[in-house]
Structures are given as structure tokens and as C-alpha cells.
Subunit: 216 residues, 2 copies
């Protein structure tokens, strides 16, 4: 089963959070069952695509009855590892780091923030939502001593590479990176990296705004 799941393509994995989001909406509306064609209407993927995606993990639907929304979501929770808890730190306690620390959905997903780190002495010792800001120089040791799983990187571009390198050496398992740099992870690395590319997204918006304005 572990091996089977490992082979699932990145495209399928990218769609699972989307199913998860819609299932939550459905559950919030007290709807019990949903068919693949209703899921298709909501998500824009074809019904056969949806059935195929969910079959990757063992097919929980029943022909003609659709899926039980709560069951399906809890299966997806398990597939996505949302039943796990990850000890997490935030590197960079500026406005973005502070926003991420307060981000509700984030906390609900099993990532538990243990500490923030910063180089700015004015910030050290202060707290954000009860979580203390510690000196960046102590970070590597802290990660090892406290078995931290995940680091969220919200430092400016010019400090990002140094921070990432230090994290790679520290035995961290995952990095959620907000800095606008590309992280080259060696193939044999055990570190999982997921990037949020704010600037790339903004440039896409800029492009489509320009194109739309030509249509007028």
C-alpha cells in the first residue's frame, strides 16, 4: 500500500487538496453523499478523472450511490498525512512570518508552531500569539534538541539561501518556503520542499490584466 501510494503522480496529489476543500464545503452544508458527477460540476475535473484519481487510493465510491462526504474526506485526510502532527518553526518573524503564524487553516492541518526565529534583536523575546521569538543563532541547535520536523521560511530574499543551507544541515524534514529563490535539493536529500511563489503569481496576474486590457 505504501509503495502503491508513492507512485501516485504529482498531478493527482495536486488535485487532492482541491477535493478536500470542496468536500469541506459540502460537509459544512450538511450534505451527506456526493456523486462523482456533482464533484465534477464543482471542481471542473471530469467525473471519470475523479473516479480514476480516487481509485489510486483504493476507490471508496459505490456505483450509483456516490461517495459519503465525511468518509471520503477522512480518507483524503489520511492520504495527505493530515492525521500526523509536525513540530514546526517559523524563520523570519516579520509581517509575513507573523501572518503565517496566525494563519488558522495552517494550524488545523497538524503543523504545530513551536517557535519563531529572527536576527533582529528588537524582536527576540517577544511573542506572536503566545509563541516566542528566539535568536536565529540558536536555531540549528533548537531544531536538533526539539526534533523539529518543518521550517517555514519567510525571510527576505537576500538571507534566504543562507537560511535554507543551515536548515538542510540541521536535520529538518520539510521546508515551506515563501522566499523568492529556487531551492536545489540534492536527489538523495530527505528534505521535502514546497514553495509559495507570491511574485510569480503576481506576474501572472499582471500578464493577464495586460492581455484583458487589449481586448477592450
Amino acid at each position: 500500500m505504501a509503495n502503491k501510494a508513492s507512485k501516485v503522480s504529482e498531478t493527482v496529489i495536486r488535485r487532492l487538496p482541491i477535493y478536500h476543500r470542496y468536500l469541506t464545503e459540502i460537509i459544512d452544508k450538511d450534505i451527506e453523499r456526493i456523486s462523482s458527477s456533482e464533484l465534477s460540476r464543482l471542481t471542473g475535473f471530469t467525473a471519470s478523472q475523479i473516479r480514476q484519481d480516487l481509485n489510486n487510493f483504493g476507490g471508496f465510491g459505490q456505483q450509483g450511490y456516490g461517495y459519503n462526504a465525511v468518509d471520503l474526506r477522512s480518507q483524503i485526510d489520511k492520504i495527505l498525512g493530515m492525521d500526523n502532527t509536525y513540530k514546526t518553526i517559523v524563520v523570519g518573524a516579520g509581517s509575513l512570518g507573523s501572518a503565517v503564524s496566525k494563519y488558522g487553516d495552517f494550524r488545523a492541518s497538524g503543523f504545530k508552531i513551536e517557535a519563531l526565529f529572527d536576527v533582529n534583536e528588537d524582536l527576540i523575546g517577544k511573542k506572536i500569539d503566545g509563541i516566542e521569538i528566539l535568536p536565529y543563532n540558536d536555531m540549528k541547535e533548537y531544531i536538533k534538541e526539539n526534533n523539529i520536523d518543518v521550517a517555514i521560511v519567510t525571510v527576505p530574499k537576500q538571507n534566504a539561501m543562507e537560511v535554507i543551507n543551515l536548515l538542510m544541515e540541521s536535520g529538518i524534514k520539510g521546508i515551506w518556503n515563501f522566499a523568492p529563490i529556487d531551492i536545489h535539493v540534492p536527489i538523495d536529500s530527505k528534505v521535502v520542499v514546497e514553495n509559495i511563489r507570491l511574485n510569480d503569481s503576481l506576474l501572472k496576474l499582471s500578464y493577464y490584466l495586460k492581455e484583458k486590457s487589449k481586448e477592450d
Copy 2:
């Protein structure tokens, strides 16, 4: 030319900000010229893919000489509409809205923040980096009177749909959406929407962390 550019596929558009990012790194290192094979090594795309992408916009490279990094970046700037200025508001002046307002790269991209809006009376009248927080009830009128182009939505999930609907009615041209909802834009709509899916990204990270842990 306008028509030609309009036909460029979304996959190409998605790669342009990546070229832009690497070109900026190269320019920062005072490197003048770059070949498609060097760009390939940096970005991971094939050299022929890169040449093909850039040919979409008129091919600025010279066989055997590579690209002039500054020229190529400024061409990409133009293609992405980065020479345009967009009058922008931020809806939601909480920690995320405040972080986005302070985000440097964002300001450099031609999006100029004119005001923030919030329902929270304690925030109204306060300033974030010199930009005033105004009452949400005045937003629609403000957009029309000030010809606002773009709204950045950083409100919580439960308020997001209402905010999006109001924005759609207000004549806004673009929405940069951070709320974890899907926006269904009518096909004939003139509004461009670009989403940042923090939660989807986090669930992907969670999945790959789980998969890596199985390998141990």
C-alpha cells in the same frame, strides 16, 4: 502582435516569471550574456523548450551568442505588463493583509496600494506603512471613484464569497485572492483572478512528508 501574444499558452506564461527570477539573479551577479543551455541548467527546462518559449514573443537570442540578460529581462517585463501601474486595494487588514501590504517585491511589480479595507472598527483610520484602513462599507464607491484596478483579498474564508461578489459588481479588473475558496468567474467576465492557495500547498507538503517518512 497583440493577437499573437494572446494565444500563448498558460504553461508558457507560467514559466516567464521563472525566467524573470533567474535573469534577475544573473544580472545581480553582473553577468552580461546567458545561453539557452545555461538557462536550462538553472531552470531545469530543456534548452530547446526555452528557445521555443522565448520565440513565442519574437526570439531575442542570437545563435551562438546567447541572450543579453538585461535586454531579455526587460522584454519579459513588457510581456508580463510590469511596465504598467495598477491602482490596488487590500481587502482585509488583518495580519495577512498587513504582510501583503508591506511585501516589497509586490510594490516593485507596479501594483500600487492605495488603501486597505476592513469591517473591524478598531482598525479603521489606522495606517499600515502609511496606507490608511477604510471602512469596508465604503469600498464599492471608493473603487469606482478612484478607478481602482486590482483588489487583493485577504479576508477569512467565511467572508470571502461576499467580498468577491461585491468586487465583481464594482468594476474591478483583477483579483489576487488569498482566501481558500474557489471563485467561479462567468466566461464573459472581464475580471482576471489569480489565486494563492496556501492550504493546498500545505497539504501537498504534508503528503510528501508522510511519503518520505515511509522510506525510512
